[in-house]
């Protein structure tokens, strides 16, 4: 069971790739992690009014089963640690939708000592949408964009993360100090 008996990367199973892409596009599960103030627009999104479950999306409490990480707004270093660990817990085709101005350039917190500017230095971003905060319609447009990218196989944030891991790791270590994973994350790594 543990092996890659149907791995999307394996050449012999290239045949299934379109099928899996279609399935991935149609069933995107969100990490239930409200990282910022945009978290307030997540409930309307998943509840009756906008109901993204129509697209097969739903918030999933366990990161192990999730595909899409909505970075809902600004990210503080304290949260970023958790975001990184959660992101690394997610199994591999995984996507990040950065939500609002703040992950792009710091937003209104551009001079705040506790907000990360330019999130894509630390984790890869697949889709970025503007707004403070973005309306649910705008988020849904972002989701449509990510679906399109998944279908075309362009949503490769996870692959970039894997390939440039040292670079991301270096930036993370610069921000948090060396050995933060061992020091801080070890305590909650197993069950975050």
């Amino acid at each position: 069971m543990g092996g890659d008996f149907i791995s999307y990367e394996l050449k012999e199973f290239k045949l299934f790739e379109p099928l899996f892409r279609w399935a991935r596009k149609k069933s995107i599960w969100l990490v239930a992690f409200c990282t910022g103030c945009g978290g307030i627009e997540m409930p309307p999104l998943v509840t009756a009014r906008y109901d993204i479950e129509r697209f097969g999306m739903m918030p999933n409490p366990a990161p192990r089963m999730a595909d899409l990480f909505l970075i809902t707004g600004y990210v503080t270093p304290k949260t970023l640690k958790r975001i990184i660990i959660t992101y690394e817990l997610m199994p591999d085709p995984k996507y990040i939708l950065a939500h609002g101005s703040c992950p792009i350039n710091g937003g209104v917190y551009w001079d705040s000592y506790n907000v990360v500017k330019q999130l894509d230095k630390y984790i890869p971003i697949d889709v970025a949408i503007a707004g403070c905060m973005p309306r649910p319609e705008a988020v849904m447009d972002g989701i449509r964009e990510i679906m399109r990218k998944i279908e075309n196989g362009e949503a490769d944030g996870w692959r970039r993360y894997r390939e440039n891991y040292e670079w991301y790791r270096k930036n993370q270590d610069e921000l948090f100090g060396e050995g933060w994973r061992e020091r801080d994350a070890k305590r909650w790594l197993a069950w975050l």
Binding site: R49, D126, M140
Partner: protein
């Protein structure tokens, strides 16, 4: 100041628990859902919803009030050159990686040059080229309105911003029109020499503008090799 009957009796607040009553909730199985089926139905944002900016370049006097009031310092006065002619006044360049859409800038604008539309959707993939869209000099309100009426989906009026080497920016509008101008420098004071060579006074500002771009481009490239 206190009023009579300010505290209500417990009996009015308390409820009785029931096993059966919740079953009434099932009636909604047969009622119409309240969902708005977004790709098929549309919600119009309210009139005067605070969306993206517009700028009447003719009216703008470059007073930098907008830049001063902006809580995110998203606004930066920019000296532009359109069709070889330098604009007399600097114009605001707005960074949507900063903007909070409070529109205080619109409120303080003394000439009414800066305005806003209801457009609010700007979706990009996170690449460096796409993020250029987040930093623009707003275009004329009539143009934005025309595009909005043509498409009616409240998207950002520009699809792609092409940045050429010598500071020339090319806006590809949604209807295929191309709009080109050149950024000469930043700040309130006009750049010393409106030539492609970097003006001495604005060297720091200029350097900082280009820096994130370079940095980001360099990193995934070097890793992928």
């Amino acid at each position: 100041m206190t009023m009579p009957a300010r505290v209500v009796g417990e009996e009015k607040v308390k409820l009785k628990k029931s096993f059966v009553k919740p079953w009434i909730g099932i009636k909604y199985l047969f009622k119409k859902p309240v969902t708005i089926k977004i790709p098929f139905e549309k919600i119009e944002p309210a009139p005067k919803y605070r969306g993206f900016h517009t700028l009447d370049w003719k009216k703008c006097v470059g007073c930098n009030f907008c830049g001063q009031i902006c809580p995110a310092r998203a606004i930066e006065m920019t000296w532009l050159e359109v069709e070889g002619k330098m604009e007399k006044r600097p114009h605001p360049k707005i960074d949507y990686g900063r903007c909070t859409f409070c529109q205080f800038c619109v409120d303080v604008c003394p000439t009414g040059a800066l305005g806003f539309t209801e457009s609010y959707i700007l979706t990009t993939d996170g690449t460096e080229d796409a993020l250029e869209l987040f930093n623009w000099v707003p275009i004329h309100p009539d143009k934005v309105r025309e595009l909005n009426e043509a498409y009616g989906d409240y998207r950002f009026p520009v699809v792609r911003i092409e940045k050429l080497g010598d500071g020339t920016y090319r806006y590809h509008l949604r209807n295929g029109e191309v709009f080109e101008f050149k950024i000469l420098g930043y700040g309130i004071r006009p750049p010393k020499k409106p030539t492609p060579a970097k003006p001495a006074t604005e060297a720091t500002a200029n350097k900082e503008t280009t820096k994130p771009a370079e940095k980001k481009e360099s990193k995934p490239a070097e890793k992928k090799e």
